[in-house]
């Protein structure tokens, strides 16, 4: 598993998302309220680019007529047919046993450790003073 430095933290403020290709794999990175998430950017259903989808909440119902809406902004809805994925795990909500999209851990690392580490950061000039978004692949 290689670690890849994606961007300085201030280039990915809360509410933003980025699409990257790492080793020919399409990856989508999200900053949701300061927390970072990474997913394979390909829907397991018919292959749409997931990073085009909206982040919604989770509508659940214990009984007809009772609707609970939670986890606002943590469910990624596919831009084509609307399958829903948990941004934390990649789990799908339409058929959790059969379908998931791959989730990748994303962390923020201080520049000092990034410069030292066995990381791949060809596109970035890394400086010790800043923090960086790093994804494990």
């Amino acid at each position: 598993m290689a670690r890849h430095v994606i961007a300085p933290v201030d280039e990915l403020p809360p509410g933003t998302r980025k699409f990257l290709t790492i080793d020919e794999r399409p990856i989508a990175i999200f900053n949701i309220n300061g927390e970072f998430f990474g997913l394979l950017n390909r829907c397991p259903h018919q292959g749409a680019a997931l990073c085009e989808g909206p982040l919604i909440g989770l509508a659940q119902s214990s009984d007809p007529g009772e609707i609970e809406y939670t986890r606002l902004g943590e469910i990624l809805r596919c831009p084509w047919h609307g399958w829903e994925f948990d941004i934390r795990t990649g789990q799908s909500y339409c058929d959790p046993k059969k379908f998931r999209t791959r989730a990748y851990p994303v962390n923020v690392e201080p520049g000092a450790s990034v410069v030292k580490g066995p990381y791949v950061a060809e596109t970035l000039a890394v400086s010790v003073e800043s923090d960086y978004v790093v994804v494990d692949l």
Partner: protein
């Protein structure tokens, strides 16, 4: 360098088929509201500005925006230059036609095209304008694209006149009707349409949707969009039963029709049920010389999107065996949200000949392009 960094993915579909395909349901849109004006007489500009359109039903756009995804379209299909999804030829080429090797794309314009309007003169003027617009903006600019003759469907005579105006023009490959009309589609107000289509050698496509003023279900307006989605196939069944039982195919033995975007898994059961009651009630419809199922199997083609998706693929293949592999026409419904990705729709286990028929040759033959 192994990390590329972009805000948006490439517009091309991430996966695509390797060989040429026909896409029998593509929806071109207008980038601006007045894009049709150059094709409409000045009288109708003034009319539209002053009175607007008067449809047979409210909720002309169907359930309110955004209908699952904005404009009921893929969220990655907004053209970079602005305008509604489906309104840019260059973006359609880049996102869909080129990467998916679309050799034939049949255009089915929806929305305010003149179909389902109470003012029949405006309806006819809009239909003619939409047809001219399809040539000017689409088919003359990309020879892969072919247009549908949009007609003032509730005025059979005006519709027939429009079909005759386009007869022989190879920009057009079919006549376009919608499944929800003022009356079931076999009834006699629509007969001039079938007469003119048969004479012109054009198949008639019946696309799900329409503005006939009737609710989508037989017992009223449903609560949910999901009910409307399945309602389209029930509506299409009504249209098909009416076409058969009113004798449209008996009168027009050369007429071919295409059921567009309403599934096809229901075709065998509707046919079996019709045949069964026909045994008992044929005296009521003595103009029919054959069993209902025979008309259906001889005259009807089916576009694939949306394909039913049974748990066992042999159930799907059983249905297709009944219908005939030569009667299916591949379609994506681009740019709409329930789009079918060409490389992902057909399960494994289909012979090469059937595959090719499914993706390409059935359509080329039906539209006379083979």
């Amino acid at each position: 360098m192994n990390v590329q960094f972009r805000d948006r993915p490439e517009p091309a579909s991430p996966a695509s088929v390797k060989t040429a395909i026909a896409d029998c349901d593509i929806h071109p849109a207008r980038a601006t509201k007045d894009e049709l004006y150059p094709f409409l007489a000045g009288r109708w500009h003034a009319h539209l500005e002053t009175y607007g359109v008067h449809a047979y039903q409210g909720m002309m756009e169907g359930p309110p925006y955004p209908k699952t995804q904005p404009n009921a379209s893929r969220r990655d299909a907004w053209p970079p230059e602005g305008g509604q999804q489906g309104s840019s030829l260059s973006f359609m080429q880049k996102q869909h036609l080129d990467p998916n090797h679309v050799a034939l794309g049949v255009l089915n314009p929806l929305g305010a095209t003149g179909q389902g309007m109470r003012n029949h003169d405006l309806s006819a003027a809009l239909a003619t304008a939409i047809n001219d617009w399809q040539i000017e903006k689409w088919t003359s600019k990309d020879s892969r694209l072919k247009a549908s003759v949009v007609v003032a469907n509730e005025d059979g005579m005006a519709a027939a006149a429009e079909i005759r105006r386009r007869a022989g023009d190879r920009n057009f490959v079919q006549v376009l009707l919608l499944s929800r009309n003022v009356e079931p589609l076999g009834q006699r107000r629509y007969w001039p349409i079938y007469q003119a289509a048969e004479e012109a050698g054009l198949p008639v496509g019946v696309h799900a949707f329409g503005f006939g003023g009737n609710p989508i279900t037989a017992s009223g307006w449903p609560s949910y969009y999901i009910e409307e989605m399945v309602g389209h196939s029930q509506c299409q069944q009504t249209a098909l039963a009416s076409l058969v039982l009113e004798g449209v195919f008996e009168r027009h033995p050369k007429l071919k029709m295409i059921m567009i975007e309403a599934g096809f898994g229901w075709a065998p059961s509707l046919s079996w049920r019709l045949d069964k009651v026909f045994e008992k009630l044929h005296g009521e419809v003595p103009h029919l010389k054959r069993k209902p199922s025979e008309y259906i199997r001889d005259h009807i083609f089916w576009t694939t999107q949306p394909m039913e998706d049974p748990e066992r693929r042999d159930h799907l293949f059983d249905v297709i065996d009944w219908i005939g592999w030569d009667k299916l026409l591949f379609a994506t419904d681009y740019p709409h949200w329930d789009y079918d990705e060409p490389s992902r729709v057909l399960p494994a286990g289909v012979s090469d000949a059937n595959r090719e028929a499914f993706y390409l040759t059935n359509a080329l033959k039906l539209y006379g392009l083979a």
